[in-house]
Amino acid sequence: MGAVLYVSCDAAALAVGADRVAETLVDELRARDVEATIVRNGSRGMHWLEPLVEIETEQGRIAYGPVKPSDVAGLLDAGLLDGGDHPLCHGLTEEIPYLKRQTRLTFSRCGITDPLSLEHYEMHHGFLGLKRVLEMTPAEIVQDVTDSGLRGRGGAGFPTGIKWNTVLKAQGAQKYIVCNADEGDSGTFSDRMIMEGDPFVLIEGMTIAGIAVGATKGYIYSRSEYPHAVAIMQDAIKIARKAGILGTSVMGSDHAFDMEVREGAGAYVCGEETSLLNSLEGKRGIVRAKPPLPAIEGLFGCPTVVNNVMSLASVPIIMDRGARFYRDYGVGYSHGTIPIQLTGNIKNSGLFETAFGLTLNELIYDIGGGTLSGRPVKAVQVGGPLGAYFPPSLFDTIFDYEAFIERNGMIGHAGIVVFDDTVDMLKQARFAMEFCAIESCGKCTPCRIGSVRGVEVLDRIAEGDQPEQQVELLTDLCDTMKMGSLCALGGFAPYPVMSSLTHFPQDFHVKPLTDAAE
């Protein structure tokens, strides 16, 4: 069978030329008459090294990256197939500090296996959770998920087990599992990476959820900006159906469960669960007032579990290794691991799964290596476009739901966007309001009108037009949006705005303040 090489098919790898590297490898190997297999795996999450090429050796896989097509011939000359030395060689992949420091539970297979190989999946502990679940009662499954301490990884941090229990107890001829894969937050891509790199874990997680609450149908609602993820998920579902994992008899049991992928159409607000449900029903993605909770009256009015990709993809390992195993990771009320995405202006960009509890300092400097531009860090935004901006003085904050809330921030979907000292925080605040205005579903006034007024007020501050009064107005407006909006879009857009204002006042009243000071 010859040598086995790995080149990722993850969208981030493709975006920097992984396909061309793989093609060049094929051509070069053919020209040299060498027999080798190229496996298109998921990504290891070390995106600054993509396109990453790995070769299987007796000691383990050896990594080379970032590889350009023009590097391929030289790599082969240097003995790539035997793990030969080369300036692009990083030694054994597993020994690279960035990977070695991680605790990979949810992403344990991502970057290792062929995403669409059931055989690979089963070889790496796949379906062990589901098999265990088939011997349990629904109440026991829900209890295990509750005991694991798993909280909604979409951002809200609501205990997953409690949500499942509500759906389990709700009466309904039909119940649904809806997977929220509408990962629209800038600085996040963990959902995409799982769907592209280990789709069966999501299928397994959703099937377990279905069995636990008595739902027979699941939907994955993904964004249209993720065509690769959608295609791989669809293929994986077909494979799972054919193998009898999905269908009228899940793995030969009495349980029925099937699922399909639905694509959004470019609306950020559809990541909000009620708006997502409306969109799935074929309506405008308008936010619904709660109550009723989706757990009681969700999709088509039926009891529905709406969980994020990360939450559902964490379930199989919890059911396999036990609630206690998962719960023992983390700090405070934040149990387990969290896949943190290090993005923007950062040297070691990528995905870093770790137990809760690291500080921002450790994440940004020790692991992330500081800015890519080499300039000082001025701010980081954690939790997407609705997350707060933190200055370096708050980098001692630990990655934990409560620690961030205490400092008027949120971990959200665990994306960290790093900005160097060239960033203008007034501009960032304006963008937050502009984004909210563009993406508002229009249902509630504070969000629909407030965001437009917010842009205007910030523009007046930029023009130096009575900045003190405008700041007062802005603070009041943000308060109204926070308290009066129906969902997190209008309710959280004030966070990036107010945190910019609080931590970077110098960016807000530049002219008048300097005038006054002089």
Binding site: A11, A12, L14, A15, V16, H47, W48, E50, E183, G184, D185, S186, G187, T188, F189, R192, S224, E225, Y226, P227, H228, E260, R262, E263, G264, A265, G266, A267, Y268, S279, L280, E281, G282, K283, R284, G285, I286, F300, Q341, L342, T343, G344, N345, S349, G350, L351, Q381, P385, G415, V417, V418, F419, D420, V423, Q428, F431, F435, I438, E439, C441
Partner: protein, 158 residues
């Protein structure tokens, strides 16, 4: 006469798409996606057909379609370039890149070059935040971009 034929074709093609999705729960979005995939936009005749077959009012179908930025009521250029405007790309000079592209192409967001070659759309995150700035040309992803790289992308497409 030609117009009438075209209109009939649209209805026929749309009906075939509806046949595929009719049995699904909440079939409207999948149908709209396929219609746009077929024609490059959602023609008025298709909209009427969908309303008729799904037993919805024309306003309901129009309302749903117009809510989502993906759906067009007019054809785009031969190629669609989506450039990310979100924060992670901003942190890597995405805003300047977007300005440069608009200047180089001589068009603004949502516009098409006069030769009908490229339509420029903003996108809020492609999930490529670890290799920013990023863009998508006709479904193909590109990261770690600069002005030259984007111009090359535009040149490469016919």
């Amino acid at each position: 006469m030609a117009l009438q034929t075209q209109s009939q074709d649209i209805e026929k093609e749309t009906a075939a798409i509806i046949d595929v999705h009719e049995h699904q729960e909440g079939p409207l979005l999948p149908i709209l996606h396929d219609v746009q995939g077929k024609f490059g936009y959602v023609p008025e005749d298709a909209l009427l057909k969908i309303a008729d077959r799904l037993n919805l009012s024309r306003a309901e179908v129009h309302g749903t379609m117009s809510f989502y930025p993906d759906f067009r009521t007019e054809p785009a250029g031969r190629h669609v370039l989506k450039v990310c405007r979100a924060e992670a790309c901003q942190s890597m000079g995405g805003e300047k890149l977007a300005d440069d592209i608009q200047r180089d192409l001589g068009i603004k967001w949502h516009e098409t070059t006069p030769d009908g070659k490229v339509t420029l759309e903003p996108v809020y995150c492609l999930g490529l935040c670890s290799c920013a700035p990023a863009a998508m040309m006709d479904g193909n992803l590109h990261g770690r971009l600069d002005e030259d790289a984007v111009l090359k992308l535009v040149e490469e497409v016919k």
